[in-house]
Symmetry: C2
DNA sequence: TTGAAAGCGATACCAC
DNA sequence: GTGGTATCGCTTTCAA
């Protein structure tokens, strides 16, 4: 059997030979160029389709100096554990995948774990993608600043910091957190623990909102109290557990994220206290699980679908050369039972 | 000011010029080749680092004929709606990202929506990645068969069908579903609705398990009954609602996935019935939300972390030329309150 | 040990 | 309209 097996052609020149034309013509035909005669164009396309030929995107990308792909990077500098299972990230990822796919681009997912030296500059320099979305500033504010100075097509989901030069999309963390904490105070809570790590920019802004709410309520003798906690469920649970064991009294917890707040609920319940009766708990994000938790979690809602759309919209404008600015979306306080029944609330108010 | 601004060098030849050597030498130095003198090697590397030079991966990939990337494709042929928010997918994605990153590969995410002509052959032909993971067979069994005949580095999360030639990883859908349904029968349920679309291979296998359980119980006068439902929460809710409105009696629902089962719970509750008192509900997947739903959902657990590890392990073996076989993992029935309280269960049993 | 040159597979300019 | 050729930026053989 030396009859050659019909392989799928690997190169454009193979198709060219089969069609009796040059590679240039095949390239033009496949690109739909009006330069090549209509009849010949259709024949070449048919041939390519029949033989299962597909343009090699690596070669094409090299030649065209673009990749039709967006990198989505998730820095996990703050995390002690590795796995990418945080529902906030996975939900955001889903929405981003939708937006990016819709524009005909590919999505290149990049988990960034310590040691994180130069990851962003390397990602940029590698030319793997035409633009970069970073989800969460994590510990990487400095790296983002440095990169943004020279690389435009970069957008970040996260907090908008003063004098920051990179482009962010996010909710109004200060206002959102403040509304949540003011709600707790209005409910009569007097010792509200902030659970989270303010070194992460978004969390820092939420802490600022927490602080502002306390400042306004200072005359009522309410003092802020922070319990440091990382962003993973396990570490947050542990931090809360340790705090319960060692500390004085408290009657409310504001978790920097829903994952943290829900971990706090677990720790509080495990210690024999009741949420919301003994301790009211509120979070931030409104991950889809928050509404179905037990008890349902009061939280500050971020519209991730809208956020993803904005990120990608700004990114494409930046890729087109425009100097698209940061955007802040309103945050919405969602009242649920973890801070007390809503109908009871009005009764309790002075 | 005609003093040239020090730009980050774009090409290897720039570094070569700066170092006073040829590009070949730079390439070798950066690759850590022992061929280049140690001192010179270090100097070149230092220079590259200082100037922020990064190897252009597109060019490198073209030359080396590999991409250091894995494509993860999610076919959504069965879905009526678009967004990639299904928790099963996003959880799986997170685990895959972990495994792929760990091996030093990039992850290329590909959502596949109708019309889906030739998507897999095109993905393969484009040479975007060195291997492909497909999550869920959806409607694409034929496409997978066709592709697998010529392309080895392909693995699929899904059901293992008879005489199938592509490599799958998944749980034992028949046994898992059967265990769940037998549990419902043992609880005394006599009219158990199967909610799902058996045209999707995994769902078909689960239906087979459902059918087998019924076959064994046929003498008790228990008849199977299927209600077609797509995989999204909204369509499943609607299907269940319509069925409740139009149909005769039923006292249990087996949902083909947790998303479907939880939608059924919503529809049943909205119709004024109680879960599990009036209707017992079980699902499949054990998505992380299942344990926290109200009531907590009895379901068949798939260990996605282990599944992702297996997928990637098999994929890399196939990329290395090995003909790695399919793998089936055991499924585990998790009893929770949506089928009745477990302590009550033993009491109720004959 | 180093450099010159070929080649990965496509696109686009420039002739014809 | 079509084909030849240079080029994108890198790696690797071959020769020195």
């Amino acid at each position: 059997m030396n009859k050659k097996r019909r392989e799928t052609p690997a190169r454009m020149s193979d198709i060219a030979r089969l069609a009796g034309v040059s590679a240039s013509t095949v390239s033009r035909a496949l690109a739909g160029s009006p330069l090549v005669a209509a009849a010949k164009r259709e024949e070449i396309r048919r041939l390519a389709r029949e033989r299962g030929y597909v343009i090699n995107s690596t070669a094409r990308n090299l030649r065209l100096q673009r990749t039709q792909a967006i990198s989505v990077a998730i820095p996990l500098g703050h995390e002690t554990s590795q796995p990418l299972t945080d529902p906030f990230f996975t939900e955001m990822l889903g929405h981003l995948a939708d937006c990016i796919t819709q524009r005909g681009y590919g999505m290149f997912l990049q988990k960034v774990v310590p040691p994180m030296d130069d990851w962003l500059l390397r990602l940029i320099g590698s030319h793997k993608s035409d633009g970069i979305v970073v989800i969460g500033q994590s510990t990487e504010h400095a790296a983002l600043e440095e990169a943004a100075a020279r690389y435009k097509p970069l957008v970040v989901w996260g907090g908008h910091l003063p004098r920051q030069s990179y482009c962010t999309v996010g909710t109004d963390n200060v206002a959102g957190a403040r509304a949540a904490v003011e709600h707790l105070i209005a409910l009569g809570r007097r010792r509200i623990v902030f659970l989270g790590d303010p070194a992460v920019p978004e969390v820092g802004l939420r802490y600022e909102g927490y602080r502002l709410a306390h400042e306004r309520a200072a005359r009522q003798g309410i003092q802020p109290h922070i319990v440091p906690a990382h962003l993973t469920a396990d570490t947050a649970y542990e931090a809360m557990r340790a705090f319960i064991g060692s500390a004085g009294s408290f009657d409310a917890v504001f978790g920097a994220t829903d994952v943290i707040a829900l971990s706090a609920v677990r720790a509080i319940t495990a210690a024999g206290m009741s949420v919301p009766r003994d301790v009211a708990v509120a979070g931030y994000d409104d991950i889809s699980f928050a509404a179905h938790a037990n008890p349902p979690l009061t939280t500050v809602r971020q519209d991730l679908q809208r956020g993803a759309r904005m990120l990608i919209d700004l990114l494409f404008r930046r890729m087109a050369g425009e100097d698209a600015p940061s955007a802040t979306m309103p945050a919405e306080l969602i009242l649920r039972e973890s801070t007390g029944r809503i109908d009871v609330l009005s009764v309790n108010r002075p």
